[in-house]
């Protein structure tokens, strides 16, 4: 019982101090006749860990895709820091400072771990392509710095010594962390993690939880987290948003959300009522 209370206290502090970093206003996404997101308003505060939960098909990943501008949204608006994201291409969104991971790990499987990180650093490297051909001093310096930074990240994600392995040959947990490391390489202000503990055992989940907290503290980031593991959500989140069938049904600190009737209904249905009636 202690942890949710602690989280709530922290929320209290951050809510008063931290400004909104990401705001979706009436965000709506329709695929043909299906409304995947229906007028969703979410405020993500700077420095917080903001979880998005909901049953399968609730529109959580669609929310990420819309923020990243991988899908063109149907209506509504998205602002990040003071920038309007709607209409940008995903690479511009990345340049604005948002990075994401994917539910089904999407590494560049054909290249090595360190090369994956270096691809993440693409935006940091400023030399032109022709400078690589003439091997200019700036290009060499750039590459050297990028390699050093990539090695640091590799250490941070616990993959030191495995940098030259092909991404596809890494173990599952290593691949998860490498994907997060690659996102970190873009030096984001906001990191969006899509089910980072999918397919992990309880011990790995605990490790991942600590890892996420450490990322927030070390890199001074804001994190949006899609998660099904309630234990993890309740322990790390400052704010939880619950989506069901594309509609935001509840929002608040973990304790509040946990006891919200609409949330219980979305997850468990009306089973409780039906059981009561015959009795």
């Amino acid at each position: 019982m202690t942890t949710p209370i602690k989280a709530a206290q922290r929320l209290g502090e951050t809510q008063e101090l931290a400004p909104v970093l990401l705001r979706t206003s009436d965000l709506t996404m329709r695929f043909g006749g299906l409304t995947a997101l229906d007028k969703v308003n979410v405020d993500v505060r700077r420095g917080s860990i903001h979880s998005v939960i909901g049953p399968n098909g609730a529109g959580k990943t669609t929310l990420f895709n819309c923020i990243m501008q991988a899908n063109r949204i149907s209506s509504g608006d998205i602002h990040f820091a003071s920038e309007r994201l709607v209409g940008l291409t995903p690479d511009k969104v990345a340049a604005a400072g948002i990075a994401r991971t994917y539910q089904n790990i999407r590494l560049f499987t054909g290249i090595t771990a360190i090369e994956n990180l270096l691809v993440g650093m693409h935006r940091q490297l400023k030399s032109h392509w022709w400078e690589a051909v003439i091997n200019s001093a700036r290009c060499r310096l750039d590459e050297k710095k990028a390699h050093e930074e990539a090695c640091e990240i590799l250490n941070f994600i616990g993959l030191s010594g495995r940098g030259d392995m092909l991404a596809r040959n890494l173990s599952y947990g290593d691949q998860r962390r490498l994907e997060i490391g690659r996102a970190l390489c873009t030096k984001p202000k906001l990191l969006m993690l899509d089910e980072p503990t999918a397919g992990m055992n309880p011990r790995e989940i605990t490790e991942m939880m600590h890892f996420i907290l450490r990322i927030r503290d070390v890199f001074n980031l804001t994190i949006v987290l899609i998660e099904h593991q309630m234990r993890l959500v309740m322990q790390v989140s400052d704010t939880v948003t619950v989506l069901d069938h594309g509609v935001k049904i509840a929002e608040g600190d973990p304790a509040h959300v946990k006891s919200h009737p609409a949330v219980i209904e979305a997850y468990l249905g009306r089973a409780a009522h039906r059981q009561e009636q015959p009795a």
Partner: protein, 567 residues
Amino acid sequence: MQSATQHLSWTKPLTPPAVVLPLKTGIITGLLAIYSAAVGILKLFFERDVIVDTLTLGDLFLATLAACCGAYVWRKSTQAGHIRAAQAFAAGLIAGLILVGLVVAVTQLNLRWMFTALSADLSRTLTYKQGALAGSLMIIAASMSAALCGALLMSMSDSLRRSLLWSMACVLIAGVFQELIQISLRFGGAVAAIRELLYVWGGLTVQGAAIVFFFAFVVLQALDARKRRGAATTLKSPAPKARSQLASALLLIAVLIAFPLVAGSYIGQVMMLVSLFVLMGMGLNIEVGLAGLLDMGFVAFFAVGAYTIALLTADSEYALAQDTFLPSLNFWSALPFAVLAATLVGVLFGLPVLSVKGDYLAVATLGLGEIVRVLVISDAAKPVLGGAQGILQIPKPHIGSFELADPVSLFYLTLVFVLVAAYIAWRLEGSRLGRAWMAIRDDEDVAQALGINLVQSKLLAYGLGAAFAGLAGAIFATMLTSVYPHSFSLLISINVLALLIVGGMGSLPGVIVGAILLIGLPEVLREFDEYRYLFYGALLIVVMRVRPEGLWPSPQRKRELRAAEKG
């Protein structure tokens, strides 16, 4: 349900895999032999000696087929050693019987109305010019022993097998290319002594073949032993490895410079053609191998380079100097414009297909490439580009007062450009842009979400790839001193793509290996020219089945496919 199990128990003992495997393999081998006879390539093979008056290419081809059959049975079979050998033997027997069937059919029936190659002559050659009975028995015996040899080879250690096969390949090369090698060894002194030791006027002697075989075998075994010792004692540090790589690259360049001088102008011409395709291959390698943009209209850039040179330099009515204020340029000053024009077309080409992926991209680029060819040949463009008659009288390049007229000097010119292009491609591969390309190849959406500008990266891939092709086209135009639309057919795009696949996607040495095999070899073996695309098809299938990473893959792609195999 019951009848089904009954049925199973009935059929099972009748056709156990131990019998099916050699039967199937033997039949396939026999049919392959019949196919090669029916299309006529076997006849041509029989006319080419490997060892003078002893062994023809045809004998060797059939023996190789049977040996492959035996080796396949040995590898696929799960039986004990002696049964496996018997299976290989049986497969050889079946293949031999089928070939005998062909001989009987050819002698008894008249098949020439349909297959002109199936003549009585062929059956005489097949039966070793013996009678029908003795010859047939000889065919079966030869087929069985070749199959057994194949199985034996498979049972050997990797190192021994590799050395044996490569030594045989050396003999094959020494025999088939005897004319070429003899010309190269035409000088007096010690070189002439070597020639006389190995060759007579007509080709390789038995003694020569034996010497080549044993020499190659000893060298290969020694190299292998050294490699094993090296691997066992210390892991080589990267610095000496890089130095040895540089040394072998320099050696290769020295050989490339010396070879056409020694081997004569025909070989110079072939090497010239090969190097043009290497140049194009390196361009397409950027598009397909690195950035994963499958481009079937690549020939368009080649054409643009060639036509730009023609328009700027030719002494003809279509030259721009004739009816505009532009001066008539020489090759060197026109070359940058040709490359620039090709790059521009490459970028224009890339724009409409930016959001097209995979198979659709192949179809879209195929269409764009055809548009360029049709435009050139059209009546509308005829006043400018000369239509089907093309543009003539394009001057050769000069260095000072020396004209680069003969193929050998043009080869040197191309070689210089190939080296420059290879350097650029190599530098880009390991750069920020190269990594972005590889990321796009693996997963375009993720690459974009990481901040890679897809439009810019893709257009750079198209533009740079096109620049290499434009360069090749410019040299091509000045080599032929004329350009015709029909030189720029779809087949060139396909050839370049095929050489990438055979050599290994994304690998620079692979481009060279692929170009030598697919462009150089058919040129040297002109007599088999009719069957060039048969060879292409067979080679592509074999490479895709046996070595999907290509003959000389990039180290990374090799790891990848080996890992996929293991995993």
